[in-house]
Symmetry: C2
Subunit: 441 residues, 2 copies
C-alpha cells in the first residue's frame, strides 16, 4: 500500500517536491510507493506549475493534518504560524512530519520534538539547513559516533553572495545589496539574511544535532555583515584572509561544567587556505570537526527549489523506508507497532549550556583611526598589554583624511579582556575612532 502524503503549501519548495515525486523514473524505486494524497493551499484559483487529480488540492489545512488516511505531513508553508500549530496537530494525530522550516524548528523545536517523542513519530528537517546538502542526516547517523567539537558553517547564501562580490569587485555593502535585491538574490527586506538571523536559526539546529542538546536562540551571539567595509576586506586580503559570515558552534571546556558551547554568528576573517575560504557566491558549506574523524566538510547549493526539494523528498523517503520495514511486521502480526529508528529520531532533550561571549577565547582584527602623532602605536600596545591582550601584529596601514589608520591583529585572547582594553583605548586623546572590529578564525 502506498504511503500517503499531505503537503502543506505549494510555493517554490512545495512545487519542487511535487515535481520530483511526479517524475520518478531514474530515481529511487521506493518513490513509486508514495501517493500525494492531499495538498493544502491558500487559494484554489492561483495558477500552478503542477497538476493533481480532482479532490487532492484543498484549502482546509486543518483537515489534512488530522486526516486518518495520511501518514506523513510535509510542511512547506514556512513562517512561524500556522506552521507551528499545524505541525503540532499533525504530530498529535500520529503523523510523521517533514519540514523545511528552520525558523519554526529553531524557535519551537523543544515543543515539537517533545511532542514527537511522545507520539513516537519522526520529525525530519534536512531541508532546514544547507538546502540540498545532506548534513542533518550525516550528523544524526554517520558522524554521531564522533565526539564533535566544532561545527562551522557558511549557511546563508545571500550574505555569502554579497561578501563574495564585495571581495571580487571591491564594492561596498550597500551597492552590492541593492544589486543583489535587483537580481533576486536578496529580499526586499534583507534583515533576516544580512543581520545573521537566518544563520542563527541554522546553527541552532546544527548545534542541537551535533552536541545532542537543545539551543535557546536568545543565547546565540548574532552579528550581521552590514558593518563589513570594503576597506577591511582589502586589509584582510593583504593579511591572508577572506571575510565570511560564519555560524560557529564550538564545545568550550569550562571549569566544573562538563559540556558548554559557544554558539555565534559573525563576520570572520578566514585564512585563505582554510576549506571554507573558497566557498563563494550563494553556495553553502558546513565543516564538522570531531574525534576521531578530524575535519569533514559538506558543500553545495544552500537554496533553490530543486536542491531544497531534494532534501524534502529524501526525508520523505527515509520515513517511507522506515514505515515499509515496519508495515511488514504489522501486517504479519495484525497489530500496530511503532518502531522508531533511533538514528532518524532526534535524541536531544536537555538544553545546552552556552558560554557568555566575554569568556570566549578568539583572535581579533581591529582597525583604529588616530591622530597622526608619534607614540600612538606604543600607547595602543600598552593598553592591550594592561589587559593581558597579546598582539600578533600592529601596523600603520595608511591615512584617511589627516588621520592615521592602524590595524591590529591579536593572538587568542579572552573577549572580555579585549573589550576592556578597547574601553581604555577609547579614552586616549590620540584615538579618533574604532571603525572595525572583527573576529579571526
Amino acid at each position: 500500500m502506498a504511503v500517503r502524503l499531505g503537503i502543506l503549501g505549494l510555493g517554490t519548495v512545495g512545487t519542487g517536491a511535487v515535481q520530483l515525486l511526479q517524475d520518478t523514473v531514474g530515481r529511487h524505486p521506493l518513490l513509486d510507493e508514495i501517493e500525494i494524497y492531499r495538498v493544502g493551499v491558500r487559494s484554489l484559483d492561483k495558477p500552478r506549475a503542477v497538476q493533481f487529480a480532482s479532490g487532492v488540492v484543498t484549502t482546509d489545512l486543518d483537515a489534512i493534518v488530522t486526516d486518518p488516511e495520511i501518514d506523513i505531513v510535509v510542511e512547506v508553508i514556512g513562517g512561524l504560524e500556522p506552521a507551528r500549530s499545524l505541525m503540532l496537530k499533525a504530530i498529535q494525530a500520529g503523523k510523521h512530519v517533514v519540514t523545511a522550516n528552520k525558523a519554526a524548528i529553531a524557535r519551537f523545536g523543544d515543543e515539537i520534538f517533545t511532542n514527537a517523542n511522545l507520539a513516537r513519530v519522526y520529525v525530519m528537517l534536512e531541508a532546514a539547513v544547507g538546502g540540498g546538502i545532506p548534513v542533518i542526516q550525516p550528523l544524526k547517523q554517520s558522524l554521531s559516533v564522533n565526539r564533535i567539537h566544532t561545527v562551522t558553517g557558511i549557511v546563508n547564501g545571500t550574505t555569502n553572495y554579497i561578501l563574495t562580490r564585495m571581495t571580487q569587485e571591491g564594492s561596498s555593502f550597500n551597492d552590492v545589496l541593492a544589486d543583489a535585491q535587483r537580481l533576486g538574490y536578496a529580499e526586499a527586506d534583507p534583515t533576516a539574511d544580512v543581520d545573521g538571523l537566518d544563520a542563527a536559526d541554522k546553527i541552532a539546529i546544527l548545534a542541537s544535532l551535533a552536541f545532542g542538546g537543545r539551543i535557546k536562540l536568545e543565547d546565540i551571539y548574532c552579528e550581521g555583515i552590514r558593518s563589513v567595509s570594503k576597506t577591511d576586506i582589502a586589509y584582510a586580503e593583504k593579511l591572508g584572509f577572506v571575510i565570511k559570515l560564519l555560524a560557529i558552534a564550538v564545545q568550550t571546556p569550562r571549569r566544573g561544567v562538563s559540556t558548554t558551547l559557544s554558539v555565534r554568528v559573525h563576520p570572520t576573517l578566514v585564512p585563505q587556505t582554510h576549506p571554507l575560504a573558497s566557498i563563494n557566491n550563494v553556495n553553502n558549506a558546513i565543516l564538522v570537526e570531531g574525534e576521531p574523524i578530524g575535519q569533514v566538510m559538506f558543500f553545495g547549493p544552500g537554496a533553490g527549489a530543486g536542491a531544497t526539494a531534494s532534501a524534502v523528498v529524501s526525508d520523505i523517503l527515509n520515513i517511507v523506508a522506515a514505515l515499509k520495514t515496519e508495515k511488514l511486521s504489522t501486517q504479519e502480526h495484525q497489530s500496530k507497532i511503532s518502531l522508531i529508528n533511533p538514528l532518524l529520531a532526534c535524541r536531544h532533550q536537555d538544553y545546552c549550556q552556552i558560554v557568555p561571549n566575554s569568556e570566549l577565547v578568539t583572535k581579533f582584527y581591529t582597525r583604529f583611526l588616530t591622530k597622526d602623532q608619534p607614540g600612538v602605536i606604543g600607547k595602543l600596545g600598552t593598553c592591550f598589554g594592561n589587559h593581558r591582550v597579546s598582539l600578533e601584529s600592529i601596523v600603520q596601514t595608511g591615512f584617511q583624511a589627516e588621520l592615521a589608520e592602524i590595524v591590529v591583529v591579536t593572538h587568542d585572547v579572552k573577549e572580555g579582556d579585549f573589550r576592556q582594553a578597547l574601553r581604555e583605548i577609547e579614552t586616549l586623546a590620540a584615538v579618533d575612532s574604532i571603525p572595525s572590529l572583527l573576529r579571526v578564525l
Copy 2:
C-alpha cells in the same frame, strides 16, 4: 540485550574501531549497547594497543563467522582472501557484515551482495571509500531521490599528496614519490596507488551506488600519474588548471540504450575555480551532480586510523539501530522477522553498460615536440581538422634541445577521432614526439 560483534583483524583500522567502541562517553548512546564479543587475529602473541577480557581474542576466524552468538561481523583484515570467503560464510550464517575492504567489494561485490540479499542481511561499506567522509550512506539515502548524472572524486590520498607537492614545489614525480615513501604517505610498492588501481576500485563502488547497477572492474579505463611531468603541471597552471587524479563516473546517453556509463580514472586538468581544484594533500573529495540537486561535494581525510574507524563504527551503529527497531517486534511476538531497510541495503543487481573510451566526448590537452620549422602549427591544425577535432588553443610554448614545444587544447571531441588525428600527426616528418596527453575536465 547487547548487539554482539565479531571483529576480523586488529590492524590499524580494527584497533581504531575498538578504541572508539571502548570509549563511548560523549558519542551516540546506542554505542553502549554493542559488545565486542570476539576478535580474530593471526597471532595471539603480538603486543596490542587495546585490551580485551580473556577469551575474546582468538585465532579461529572461521569460528567467529559462524558463531550463533554473533550478530555483526566486522571485516577489517583487508586483501582479497580470506576476507572474501569469511564475509560469504558470515552472510550465509545470517550475520550482517561491515567492511572497509574496497578491493574485495569492487571485485566480489556481485557475489557478496547477491548472497546478502538472499540471506536478508546488511553489508555496509562506508569505510571503503573516502575514509571517514560520509558519502556511501548519503548516496544510498539522501541523494537517491536525484537522477545522478556524474560522480567525480579525488579518492586516493597518496596520489593527491604527490600531485600537490609536485605542483607546489615544481618537483618531479620520482623525487616526490621517494620522499612520500620515506614519510609513510606512499607504500614501498606504490602500484595500487600511483597506477590508479585503488581509485578504480573506489569509483566502481561509488558508481554502483549512484547509478544503481554493478560495475565490472575490467570495464574501467585506468591511467595513473607516473607520466605526469612537472612541465605539464607548469603549463596547466599557466592555462588556469591544476592536474588531479580524478575518478569519474558519468552517465552518457547513447542512441538506443537507456543507461550507459563512462567510468574512468586518469590524471585530469581541472579548472582552478572548480571545487575539486583546491582539494590538496592527502585529502579526498567526492563531487556528486544530479537533478534536481545540482552539485554537492563531500570533503575530508581519505585515510587514517581515526577517520576510517569513524566510518566502520557508523556502519555498525546503523545496523544496531535497525536491529534494535527489529528486536522490539521480535520480542513482542516471539518470532524472528527480518526487516531489511531498503535505504541501508544495496539495491543494485544488474550490471551497468559501459561506454568504450573511443566514444567518450571530452577535452584534451596534449604536448608535442616538433622540428623548429615554419608551418608546423598549420600541419597539426590540418590533421586535427581532418578528423573533426576542433581546437581551443594551439600555442608554441618554447624550445627543448633544438625542438619546438607546442601545446594543444581541444574543445569537446570524440576520443576516437582525437586518437585518429594523433596517429596521422605521428607520421608527420616535422613531429619528433608527443610527450604528454591529458584529459581536461
